[in-house]
Symmetry: C2
Subunit: 343 residues, 2 copies
């Protein structure tokens, strides 16, 4: 792939690792390479704007790696939002975007409010189901502050993100009950046996995930959930209804297509930007100053735990689990790429 595209992917992964979002960091590299080899991720995509209005765009990513197309989309969405107040972009046929907070933070750093969410084929049990039937679609929302760093929420609609299950595999530890269901439709604590993630708040996480599919995949003319569940294949490498266990690094990869929304709101359309940022500062200060619940030494606002990790890790480095290093070593040998001496 073009060096600048490889750099975009690397920046997105290391952005996550530096913020202790290791589930969306370099542990994904072997899986990405596997996807590229199988023709699922396209290292030389023909990214094009399919439709456009003053306030919207529909972009076809041609199976580009997530950061390659999404960084382009962020630049366009910011530009267009500044014209009419909001820009709402759908990207279809992209592949794994990594941590969504990376992109909303870019938008917030431009002084706008950013919203992203994304959908993939099913990996989560809808409320009331014992197998996968919806994606644990994450959403990120970020806004700029003045003296503080941007508020940045980045959350999956499942109890935990799928990558946290992978991480438990790499660390060889058990997971708490309530994170996922096994093949028998019952809760499991073995991360290798997770077949379906569970939604946060039951019908709430489940409902958000269903609506995000409606606003992204179906809106982009690229429905993922319905066709997958109804057995209408979405690609030669689709593995069918449930796919490989989420906790298992798949030997056989489903066509890992995503569709997502990238939106930006221009603050100056509605209110004074400097006043806005000061109000965000006040909100942060006020929430952090509240009396704490038992067992809490501090109240953290969205994005703050990641920022703490960044401050630490940009000084002391990124601790990688043995399993992740082993997997990275193995692909570096396979592709004859020099393994960084600093790892």
């Amino acid at each position: 792939m073009p060096p600048e595209d490889a750099a975009a992917e690397a920046v997105a992964l290391i952005w996550a690792n530096l913020r202790a979002v290791d589930s969306h960091g370099v542990l994904r590299i072997p899986w990405y390479l596997d996807n590229i080899e199988k023709g699922i991720m396209n290292p030389r995509p023909n990214i094009r704007v399919v439709k456009e209005t003053p306030a919207t765009m529909l972009i076809d990513a041609d199976h580009a790696l997530g950061p390659v197309v999404t960084i382009q989309a962020v630049h366009r969405v910011v530009e267009k939002a500044k014209q009419v107040g909001i820009c709402w972009v759908l990207i279809r046929n992209l592949t794994h975007q990594g941590a969504l907070g990376f992109y909303t933070q870019m938008i917030a750093e431009e002084g706008l409010a950013g919203i992203l969410f994304v959908c993939s084929p099913p990996n989560m049990a809808p409320y009331g189901a014992r197998t996968t039937g919806v994606h644990n679609s994450p959403i990120s929302i970020a806004v700029p502050a003045k003296k503080h760093l941007p508020l940045n929420l980045d959350m999956a609609t499942s109890v935990v993100a799928g990558g946290k299950i992978w991480l438990a595999v790499d660390k060889d530890v058990l997971i708490p009950e309530g994170w996922g269901l096994g093949k028998d439709g019952r809760p499991t604590t073995d991360p290798r046996k997770v077949e379906a993630l569970l939604p946060v708040g039951g019908p709430k996480g489940s409902g958000l995930a269903i609506m995000f599919e409606c606003l992204s995949s179906i809106m982009a003319g690229n429905a993922l959930i319905g066709p997958t569940l109804l057995g209408r294949e979405i690609g030669p490498s689709t593995t069918g209804q449930t796919g490989p266990g989420i906790g298992v690094r798949p030997n056989y990869v489903r066509k890992n297509v995503q569709n997502g929304v990238v939106a930006a709101i221009d603050i100056s359309t509605f209110t004074d930007v400097e006043g806005y940022k000061e109000n965000i500062d006040d909100l942060i200060d006020a929430v952090k100053a509240l009396p704490r619940a038992e067992g809490f030494s501090e109240i953290l606002v969205p994005g703050e735990p990641e920022q703490r990790a960044f401050n630490q890790r940009s000084r002391t480095g990124i601790p990688l689990p043995e399993g992740t290093i082993r997997n990275l070593l193995s692909v570096s040998e396979k592709y004859d790429v020099r393994f960084p001496s600093t790892v």
Copy 2:
């Protein structure tokens, strides 16, 4: 107030009762009347568009009753979304909107996707706090289907909506632990003692609520959370940091101002509308056909429980708890309004 505005409010309340969302139904009437008497809700508002672009509007509601201004906003947002693909409207200084699903359903019935969320002064403990510090901002998202009724998610960012606590008071029943905290910052099962709702999914519900304040109140230049917590009064009847107990019908009402987002997305901007609706049908059919988890006799999609109740209640009537009837009787006497013989 003008009869057509009273009718708008009545329709919104009964829409909720017919769908068994009794927490947002006629049980609110005594509280609304109290708010009107105290000058908090304005029966003769001067609603005006403060700012406008082809894709956005900022509306000042002048403390209108929620449905009065929001129904107007829905008509404008649909009209404008059809021009440029999306319209994103901020309403500031409105008062209680009732069930948000009422408005998103209107948008979906026009063939567009609808998104609403709204913020009020604090009634929920942010993750890690023992007192209120954020509003349990609800969000509703609805999209149209073809053979099915619209998918319609309507959820608070708390474990349950505040009205569910009121309903427990009216029914004189205990609430499960985990719904709210008492004055001492500990969980309580007495609905009369709830001082702070708890967020769904801990940092997730809490984070969404914080970001909704940033996208609605602060964006509309009418910050609610920060100024309230920092002790900068937002009106003569503000009661300060925590306000009256949520489970107590307040004698002393805080200035119950809200700010909200009303957005619509025109499906035809991105994809074929008929195909879209068929895909929503497929999604509904596919999710409902999944193997069920233990203890579930059926998988319900967003909006379906409410629709079931509507089918039932529009035939057999709306069962009201004794407490609600007592409160309605009391205000009907106070204002010398004939009490409906059908109650």
